[in-house]
Structure formats: C-alpha cells, structure tokens
Subunit: 318 residues, 2 copies
DNA sequence: GTGAAAGCGCTAACAA
DNA sequence: TTGTTAGCGCTTTCAC
C-alpha cells in the first residue's frame, strides 16, 4: 500500500475504498501513528496554531480568557502560544516575530483594560487578529464585556429592591470602562446621582465611605462599586460604622473575582464579565478568520451577568 | 548565490567567507527575511517550542510561573504552548497528543499543589519533562518552593521579634505543603506549639481566632498563617476583638498574593514563594534537557523570601 | 480506487 | 569557499 493512499484514507480526501480506509485507520491506530504537525503545516500553510499576546503578568483577567480560548481551540486541533509581554515593547516585538516565523494562523491580542493600544506592527503581519479586552483599530474584530449593560444590571437590580439613593464608587476616571459604567449608571439613576472616581483599591472604597458618612446630607441606601476590591473596602467601612448590609445599604460589586467577592461579609452580589465566554468567542472568531471566513468588524460587547450573593437581593444563601 | 550558502551564512554553520556572510545578512535584513520555523523544525527535529500543562483555571499560581518560563524561553527563540486542562483527563490527553504531534522539545508540568500527580502518559512520550509545583516520578526533575525554609523564615522572624507563644493556623492537612510547613514550624516553635488545620479560606482564619480567644488558657502573641487568605481572616477577627496588630499579636502570612496581603489592615508581612523565579528555573532546565544535556534528577526546593509589611516586624511603611 | 512523483522551505552532506 | 544534491514527513496533482 502506498503512502499517499494512507494519507487519503486518514484524511478522508480523494477517493478511497471504504474497506481500505477502515484497514488503514485500524493499523494507524494500532501502531499509534500520529501525523507530524510540522510537516503538515509546512505543506498546507496552516500551522493550526494561534498566538495569544498579553501584557498581564498577574493573570487575574488573562488566564480565565486564555483557558476559554484554549478550550475552544483544542477541540479543533489548534494549539495556543502564550506570549507574555509584561508591557515591554521589546518582548512584544520578539514574540510577534516568533509568531510570524511559526506561521501562526491567527493572533489574539489581550490587554488588561479595554483602552490599551496594541503594538502597531501587529496589523502589518498579514495574519488575522482578534482583540479581546483591548482597543483594536476601527476596522478590526474586537470583543469587550458590555460594561454599560453590566452597570445597568447592577443599578436595575438595586432599584428593583426599592433603593432610590444609589451611589457609585469606582476607579480611575481615565479608564474607559469606568466611564462607560458611570454613564450607564447615571442614565438610570438620574443625572444628580453621584459618581465618586478614585483608584481601584480597597482602600479607596474605605475612604469613600468615610467621606460620605461623615458629611452632612442624605445617605445612600445602595452602593454600586466599580470593582469587587472597592466593594470590599466599602463593606468593611460600613461594618465599622455598624451600618447593616443589605438592610441599611445594599452593595453590588463588579468583577466577580471570587477570592474577593466570596469572602466579604456578607458575601458580595456582583457583576460577572464572563471572561471565559469572552475567550470562547475570541477563539471561535480567530478560528473562522484563519479559515478565510470573514467576520463583520467592530466591537462586540458580550453581556455581563449578575451573581447573587447576600450583599444585595436574593442571595443564594439568604 | 546558492540557497545553501545563504543558509550557512545566516546560521554561521559551515565555512563562509566573512564578506559574503555580511552581504547575505544585510540583504536578509533588507527584505525582511525570516526562516520558516516549521521547515527548520521538520529537518532538525527540534521545534524550538515547549508545552506547559497546567490544571489551574484560576491563574493565581500558573500565570506568574508561566510568564517566568516564557521570559527565559523567548530569549532563546523558544515558544511556549499553553495547555489548560481544567483538571479534565480528556483535555490533558488531547493536549498531550497535540504536543507530541508538534514535536515539542520539552514539557513543563505544573499543578496547583505540590502533591498533585501528573497523567501517566506524560513520561511515555520520550520528551523531556520538568515538574513545577507538582509531584513527578522519583527520577524526574522537579522544582518546588522550599516550604520548610519558608516556614522557618516566618517563625524565626517572629521569634526574632521576641514572640514566644506562636500559633500556626493553616489549611487542609492533606496538602503536602501544609504538612511540610507545619513540621518546620514545630521544629522551631517546639513540639507543644499548636497547629490548627482547617481549610484555605479567610473564613477559617476568622473561625480559628474565635476558637482560640474564647477558650481559656494562654493566648498567642504571634500567628503564622498558612496562606494570605487565612491571615486576612485572622487579622479581621483580631481587629473585631480590639487586639492590636502587631502590638499584641504579630501576624505572618504565606503567598504574598498582593491583592490580599497589601489590603489587610495593617498590610501583611508574608512569605513569597518566588513563583516567577520558579518559572525561570524550570525554563532553563527544560531548555538544557531539550538540548540533550543531563540534569541531576530530584526535587530542587527554591528559597522563599520574607516580605516585610506592617503586621509583623520592620514594615516598609512602619 | 490507487500509487508514483513533485514539492512545501529549509539544513547537511558532499562534490566541485 | 561555494554550489549541488538529497531529504525531513507530509499532501496533492495526475497518470494508471
């Protein structure tokens, strides 16, 4: 039997007798034959590998996304190169060159904030690119969490609980996501509703509560926080003041970062950005692009979900 | 000029006239020539890629290590395949097959606890393997944090502060690391020193303090915690009881997970496992093995470091 | 339906 | 020192 017949049989290409095909497959199985991906890639111009460029050393956002991407790819026989740039342009260039040398079928660019710009060389490689949690050029394919919808989810939930004096304590004003959420919040809570920008820390949550509750005027009956860490600071500060949660003040966070949101007292109701799903979608998109299919460019915003715990609303243990 | 002369010139192999070599290099640069890694790998049997198998979806341990590995590899022109198994044996098999098909030069197996066993197929591939934060076979090359040394660092630090009634609150007894640390602690603190096993949660830290401070008997003047999360629970519980930290009770954690350790009040003095360095060492090791060099097998335990904050000893802001 | 032959882009012998 | 040749392991015409 010739080598090309075997190839045809295994790949189902060309015309092959059903009988021979079975035989070839059986024997291949028996001897544990596995085609050499390098050789195949060399010939077909498709390496069945894609690269993921990330600037996140810390992993909180990246790894859930990466594992989402990986999950989708592995079932299509596609592998994932992890390229950690640590925000170093030299490393980014090095990785990009390596990806080109390896003939990857596509690149996923990930950042840790949605307004972070990718390296300019990226688009000049002639390799399809998908942007996740990052700002691509206007004609590119990007996936973001739907920050506005997430914020609405939080505010509507609080309003549904009968709260009317909702305060928004969030992170830095120069983060796009913080602004988007703040705007969505104000649309629902009214323009008079107050937004307190600060930084993304627990400490800021704490400090903000000190400010609000030591000044005169009406106090909020609900607080929507820009991150779980901020929410943690808020909750701790409220507890210090013997303000009951959610009785006096309901609290909703943002991130569903379980190490924080499960551990607050009471556990935190919060918004989940569905990072893994973001990864799935990005994986599917890059797979399609690598096959030459076209995808409508633009930013697709994937819905966030509300995770009920006890700091606001029908908690799962309440 | 022939194609093989060019190859020789670029790779510095064979004998080449310095003049031609320069010329070739210049032109290669000019036209942006980059060798096809697939073709090269096919011929040389070295793909210059290595795979990293991890069961960690969450990323807290994996990503710092992975970025350490990646940092080392990228400078040697070696790329890293990320294989997230999510603890699913089917996925592990799938990834392992893919790595074989791609002729990776080596595999790094990573787990989230040092006594987690790797899939048995792993060693039968004929590909060098390095184990990090995981239990490899006895004749394998493994890198672990030095849990015993880390624990000693913590206890000695507390003793150096004049504390004599040190308590150890840690995680689950069936984690190897928990036992190693507990033993090292007892060697220094004396066999009468108490170890409280529980789970790895903040809640457990809280509960342990309730127990200790509501029973009769001498109270500890220092607490060494098995994780930063536990330490956070401990600190919160102590604060609830108006016990001053570090005045009445000094606290040391384990992990230096900054999102936790920076945010406790006061900030947490803790043990850092140097995960990135672990990644560096693993990267170097797999690189050496993939070149056919031999490395003395066994578990190499890399030293932990003590990070001073304010919950015990000379804090950086104290 | 099957097999011989060509060739993907490169490196490594060897001959010139 | 340079060029010629063979071949890595596979897919893909195209005769048979």
């Amino acid at each position: 039997m010739s080598i090309s017949t075997a190839s045809n049989a295994l790949n189902g290409t060309g015309r092959t007798n059903a009988e021979t095909r079975e035989k070839v497959r059986r024997i291949a199985e028996e001897i544990g034959f596995r085609p050499n991906a390098l050789a195949r890639g060399l010939l077909t111009k498709r390496s069945h590998a894609i690269g993921m460029l990330t600037n996140d050393t810390y992993g909180r956002l990246t790894l859930p996304m990466a594992s989402g991407v990986s999950e989708v790819l592995v079932d299509h026989g596609v592998s994932l190169f992890l390229c950690a740039t640590n925000n170093d342009p030299r490393l980014a260039r090095l990785h990009l060159e390596a990806l080109r040398d390896r003939q990857v079928d596509g690149i996923i660019f990930t950042a840790t904030r949605i307004d972070m710009e990718p390296p300019p060389e990226l688009t000049q490689l002639g390799i399809p690119v998908v942007y996740v949690f990052a700002q691509g050029p206007s004609d590119s394919v990007s996936f973001h969490p739907d920050d506005a919808q997430g914020a609405r989810l939080a505010v509507e939930h609080l309003q549904g609980l009968g709260r009317s004096r909702i305060l928004h304590i969030t992170g830095e004003r120069n983060y796009r996501a913080a602004c988007i959420r703040a705007e969505a919040y104000q649309e629902l809570a009214g323009p008079a509703a107050e937004v307190m920008f600060g930084d993304w820390s627990e400490e800021w949550g704490h400090a903000a509560i000190e400010t609000v509750f030591s000044r005169s005027g009406a106090k909020p009956d609900a607080i929507f926080c820009g991150s779980d860490e901020i929410a943690r600071g808020v909750i701790d500060a409220l507890r210090d003041r013997n303000i009951s949660i959610p009785g006096d003040v309901a609290v909703v966070g943002f991130d569903n970062w379980e190490v924080v949101s499960r551990q607050t007292r009471p556990p935190l109701t919060t918004i989940d950005m569905e990072l893994k799903e973001l990864g799935h979608r990005a994986g599917l998109a890059i797979l399609a692009l690598s096959k030459g299919e076209t995808i409508e460019p633009g930013v697709e915003r994937l819905p966030c979900t509300l995770v009920f715990r006890r700091s606001a609303g029908q908690g799962d243990q309440a």
